[in-house]
Symmetry: C2
Subunit: 376 residues, 2 copies
């Protein structure tokens, strides 16, 4: 049933894991949800028909990239990002903050915002909390993310505390720039605080005290060990408001997603399934498959006999290896279809396990194989 | 109705243009037919579902490429090329002769065959009339082409005559290597003779006296002017047996196909629609569209409002330009879908015009726009 955008209902819980539905202006999405990354108004190598076929209900667009090319105003004149890329389901856009830090050559941070150089042509640009909201309004995404500062891995407590304060100040300005009744777009705040539990707690307190539609945990998966990520997430997850969706940004490996769902996370995004696909690394329920390996040369079996994707129902590993070795464009599409379908199947199984209140058993059953990386 | 492979029925004629059906072991194809080029067991960027959606009933595979990678014996162990690439409709494979001349660094021609170096790793290989039939038997194509020698553009009469004699000798050996009752695969001979009308006539006489299932005209579209190509084709086409399919190899531009159909050609193949697609050049009924041009930047119209392809029914020129400028993989698939759909629509309209006995009027009506190249 259609609900007002921002409505988040939790139907089941299993331990800390939650089974919910988030309503947006472009329809509802089941949580826990994985969002394929569609950086430049396309999930690399896939059309919207393909994306839907993987089972994805929501995708992520990158504000930084779309601002620079083709430009958010051009997209607004096309009717917004949904119309432009012909995807009529929910879209979340990030704030561009992370890309400014990771892709831009130059970066000048002031209390007002951040100046940066385009990775495409070196031209100078400026992001403020207000301007990234304005850009995301032009894009017309269903969920907008606030501008934050993501401290580099290894930042000390003093830097991280100052950064956290800036992120909180920007979060307040972002909400003011788009109040609750401004329209149908949702706004999520972002908890930072680096790898200092007390700073994470402070950031969670400050961000959660602002009336956002959802809360994200940022600044993880930036180079730390898996244990450190789990430690921080274990500490911060219980501090997030129960009635709002929790989004762990940029995570991650299948095993990390399974673990984070168990800690109460509802939404994920990561380039891993799409990037790995283009590198020939395919996910299966028996660990990863490197399609390049000569053992696949004459293998008539599909990547995964139980996978419903077009690649698995149509082609052998032998054919997929041939396409990959011959650098054929079709390889990228088929591998991407498979990896994203695997991720969506993982989310679907996780949701079912929560509905049946057996999430811990599900996680224990699947984690060993998921942790089995290529060559192990 | 299912007919024995090789059955070729002509239902209509309009001037010299013919409307026919060629039956193969993997079903029938309507002629005049255009065969998309699937060099490495894939039509670049498309899956077999996409190829079928363009309206193609037959594709072409390259014996030279498949022999080198992944190998015809590997493909035979997979059940043949149809099974390997999941395309269950007709496939024609060339003999590899043209690729040996155009791609291989080294080439040593003897009466027995041709020695060449792989363009992939420089390894030495040898093609004889018998071995390329054996390779195409491994591939299991519906139509096999005989090994021929394609004289370089500008070759003199003495060279061309010697080459023609070799091609005839090889054609005889090819038919002996796969007699009429050997199986369900068809064998087409190839007329050579360069740009000397009397040598073309001699080659046509010699090749047509061998009991092939179809006759191809080779050695055109090798660098000559369009007028020269039409001259040669105009002379040779009437010499081909009326009851067999006529295949003009490697041609061509839409206007050349329309003209050649009017001279009695039934089958075509060319990399132009697929290669142009990857270069951002799109075919329309109003001439070519260079998607890169800034005039497409904010154009909300499709490439062609009447085109039934996924790209035209789903996306604007503005989006397709963005994908192309951002070098997104989806650009290649969408552009290829469009160009191949355009070619198949062209063939479909040509077939209808022949059925209605108004082919000359059809050609006169479409040629001016088709000849309007980009920028004119």
């Amino acid at each position: 049933m259609r609900q007002p955008p921002g409505t988040f209902t939790i139907s089941h819980a299993s331990g800390a894991a939650r089974r919910g539905v988030l309503h947006t202006a472009h329809g509802a999405l089941d949580t826990p949800a994985f969002m394929p990354v569609g950086t430049q108004a396309t999930v690399k190598s896939l059309g919207p028909d393909d994306i839907a076929a993987t089972g994805a209900q929501i995708i992520l667009g990158n504000t930084y990239h779309l601002r620079l090319r083709p430009g958010d105003e051009l997209i607004a004149r096309r009717g917004g990002l949904h119309t432009f890329m012909a995807w009529d389901r929910p879209i979340l856009t990030d704030s561009g903050g992370f890309q400014v830090f990771s892709l831009s050559g130059l970066r000048k941070l002031t209390p007002d915002g951040v100046e940066f150089a385009s990775h495409i042509d070196g031209s100078r640009h400026f992001f403020s909390p207000e301007s990234v909201i304005a850009i995301q309004r032009n894009l017309g995404s269903d969920v907008m993310m606030v501008l934050d500062e993501c401290p580099p891995y290894g930042a000390d407590a003093a830097y991280t505390e100052k950064s956290l304060e800036l992120t909180t100040a920007w979060a307040k300005r972002s909400r003011l720039a788009y109040p609750k009744d401004a329209g149908d777009q949702l706004v999520f705040g972002i908890v930072q605080g680096g790898f200092f539990p007390e700073l994470r707690a402070r950031s969670a307190h400050e961000i959660c005290s602002i009336d956002f539609d959802g809360i994200a945990v940022g600044g993880l998966s930036v180079g730390e060990s898996t244990e450190k990520m789990y430690d921080i997430l274990t500490g911060v997850a219980p501090l997030l408001p129960q009635g709002k969706p929790h989004y762990l940004m940029g995570v991650g490996k299948p095993q990390d997603i399974v673990t984070a769902i168990g800690l109460g996370v509802d939404m994920f995004d990561c380039v891993l399934p799409t990037r790995n696909a283009r590198n020939g690394t395919l996910f299966t329920w028996n660990g990863q498959c490197n399609i390049k390996k000569s053992e696949n040369k004459e293998d008539d079996a599909p990547i995964d006999p139980n996978c419903p994707c077009y690649a698995c129902t149509t082609f052998s590993r032998a054919y997929l290896r041939h396409l990959y070795m011959a650098k054929e464009l079709l390889a990228y599409r088929l591998n991407t279809l498979h990896n994203l379908t695997f991720y969506q199947q993982l989310m679907s199984r996780a949701r079912t396990a929560i509905e049946q209140n057996r999430y811990a058993a599900f996680a224990a059953a699947v984690l060993p194989a998921l942790r089995r990386e290529e060559g192990e």
